[in-house]
Symmetry: none
Subunit: 416 residues, 2 copies
């Protein structure tokens, strides 16, 4: 009882567009609780389509296709499906009448090629398209295998799914139970270390647990299947509690949380404000904060102190400090953080100074070395971190911004 997705279009194979339809349909299938084991992308090629559909019929219960329903010669989906199961195409006069009416209403001329869209394999049911000309179909060519076809235009596909396909799948008893899922987010731990810590839980069958890595953070997805959303949520809760008890402060948030949104919320609850002083990130730390809706009640701004003169002028970093320790040092990071706090009147400030590369590294201060300082009402501290000189510049900048937010987060958790 599983589903597959087949996306049809040469533009996908040429890399002209990203396959957003596959992702959207995958989410819908997960929500319906219809297990989904494979996605395939093919070009507008009759023989390859026929072969792929026959293969799918041997593997799955439901095949969802997108694309190839238009009026042009390279729109082959309906025809190839009919041919794959040796079924003749029959015209649906009501579809043809509707296509004509719709095109006329838009002031378009109806071309003979539009009529091709009114043909479906014998025995197929129309899957109406409320917002476009090309309808899809729901067709069971052989026992135990149903295909649902959609156009490639995302808005039309989504409207058809919601109005007809999802209710049909539910009514047909193909959507069993519901899935609920939750994403726990971690900073400062590697994917492999986290996976080892969770080794026993990764074996779970329901709820399942899966680790992901990306952009410096690591994530654990918890997915539960049950008869209702309430029951599924109830399965997730104890697993989440167990993971949190094992990982302590490394888990910074859930679902759409970011390190920035979590830190902003910590400060909001304390009625405090935040400023930044950025050298190597050049604004990336501030941008991460400003990306959070409503950041402005906590985030006051700060200084992009890329040049040393700006560190001196706007943050009051003493020239002597820069001369004796160099810009990439704990004393300068501390002076930057304290300067940003003073200049903006914020309760807290974070400062970063480092070597993002690819040039500028030395043996003592290699690419990837960053000093991060946090200044607050109770004093200041600074510490170095080494991200490794093999990282790309923008990657080091992203990791620096995350690590800086994590430092402040930890400090705020201690200082309750």
């Amino acid at each position: 009882m599983s589903a597959e997705i087949l996306c049809i279009g040469t533009e996908l194979l040429l890399g002209n567009i990203t396959n957003g339809n596959a992702r959207w349909l995958a989410e819908q299938l997960a929500t319906l609780g219809l297990p989904h084991h494979r996605q395939t992308v093919l070009g507008d090629n009759r023989e390859r389509l026929m072969a792929a559909v026959r293969e799918a019929a041997g593997r799955c219960r439901v095949l969802i296709t997108t694309g190839g329903l238009g009026p042009t010669p390279d729109d082959l989906t309906t025809e190839a499906l009919a041919a794959a199961f040796d079924t003749p195409l029959v015209e649906h006069p009501e579809i043809w009448a509707e296509i004509q009416a719709r095109l006329l209403a838009r002031g378009r001329v109806c071309s003979p090629s539009n009529r091709q869209q009114a043909f479906l394999p014998a025995g197929a049911q129309v899957l109406p398209n409320p917002t476009g000309t090309a309808p899809g179909m729901i067709w069971t060519p052989i026992a135990g295998f149903t295909v649902l076809t959609f156009p490639g235009v995302p808005s039309e596909m989504e409207a058809m799914w919601r109005a007809t396909a999802a209710p049909w799948l539910r009514a047909a008893g193909l959507a069993e139970g519901v899935f609920a899922s939750r994403m726990l987010r971690f900073w400062g731990v590697s994917e492999s270390a986290l996976a080892e810590q969770m080794a026993d839980l990764l074996e779970n069958e329901n709820p399942t647990l899966a680790p992901y890595a990306g952009a410096g953070e690591v994530k654990l997805r918890l997915t539960a299947r049950a008869g209702s959303d309430r029951e599924a949520q109830a399965l997730l809760a104890p697993l989440e509690a167990e993971i949190r008890s094992r990982t302590g402060t490394a888990c910074f948030g859930v679902d759409d949380d970011t390190l920035a949104s979590v830190v902003l919320e910590q400060l909001r609850q304390r009625g405090e404000t935040l400023a930044v002083a950025e050298s190597c990130t050049g604004g990336g730390l501030g941008a991460a904060l400003a990306a959070v809706p409503g950041a402005s009640d906590v985030f006051r701004g700060g200084v992009i102190a890329y040049a040393n003169a700006v560190k001196q002028e706007l943050l009051g970093v003493p020239a002597a400090l820069l001369a004796s320790h160099g810009a990439v040092s704990d004393p300068v990071a501390l002076a930057m953080a304290e300067g940003a706090r003073r200049a903006t009147g914020a309760s807290w400030a974070i400062a970063v100074t480092g070597i993002a590369g690819p040039g500028g590294g030395t043996v003592e201060k290699p690419v990837g070395l960053v000093h991060i300082a946090v200044a607050g009402p109770d004093g200041s501290s600074s510490e170095a971190v080494r991200f490794g000189s093999s990282r790309r510049r923008t990657w080091i900048q992203t990791l620096t911004a995350g690590e800086a937010l994590q430092r402040l987060r930890s400090r705020l958790m201690v200082q309750l």
Copy 2:
């Protein structure tokens, strides 16, 4: 002589992430001239992986896989590939040594599960991963079928492709003829408008032309196929000239250029410097500049003036101006730009102030309204732009940073 792409990861089947890797690889295959007929997505499931790989071996010459190379138990790609062709895994001590060295350099503990990444099927060649721990492989398990494996992390996959895989495919004679391609980059024009302007050229067979859209910019890829790189380049040149003559200044760069890198180079050649003053972008404009290697000889930094008090204190924006015009206005944008120029000593400054949403919009000043000012040696100017209130916050911030750079670029082109 065709290729297929196999992307592995349950997160793709759950719809957690969009399959950007498939698109990127598809573009690369098109550039290499290696025909590509199918993409498949599977979860982390050993039996399904084995079956899919055996099917692919019967259909194609080259299989590119992404994902499943990590150290966790659900990383099954290498093992499933070996099992699909009844081949034992053998350890590569040099990989293990490198993994240990890399983790130690990052201050991470090496766990036993990391060692799994040092095993490859007998006969496989290492596909080095210069920026991460998991290497891939190039393996020909049966005559006429080669598989290349990559991790799912896009930046690692891309670096490995460029450094090793693409040259290997060329050297192996799998990329037929020589393809040369060039990406022209545009700002301030929509994909559909550009496509209409180029309608006749889009019909070309050699060189081909294909439009792409993304992150506010629009791109045109020119691809020529010929017997030698020289001949292919000779085919591209007149097409590029024709496109440039039709589009004027909307074309800002080629290939890896960004608006930021182009503006920095314009200023570098003039021996001038740049500062920023950012309200609604919160540092995103500075981050775009700092992302360019070597930015520091032109970019001096600036002020993230998120709160009005910071606009006053650090940029000298008069309180009366804020009170009478509001923070989102041309007079305030001008004062911010002039203040940033004064405070940093830079030759030029760009300032942005606007409403990124989702809250904070009014009828007069809706979400998506941004004022952008440019101040330079020859004076200052400011103008509003409306990105539309239906856009997401981070999208408005990205468009704002790009538009601000484009304004400075235009100004510098006039003022030669």
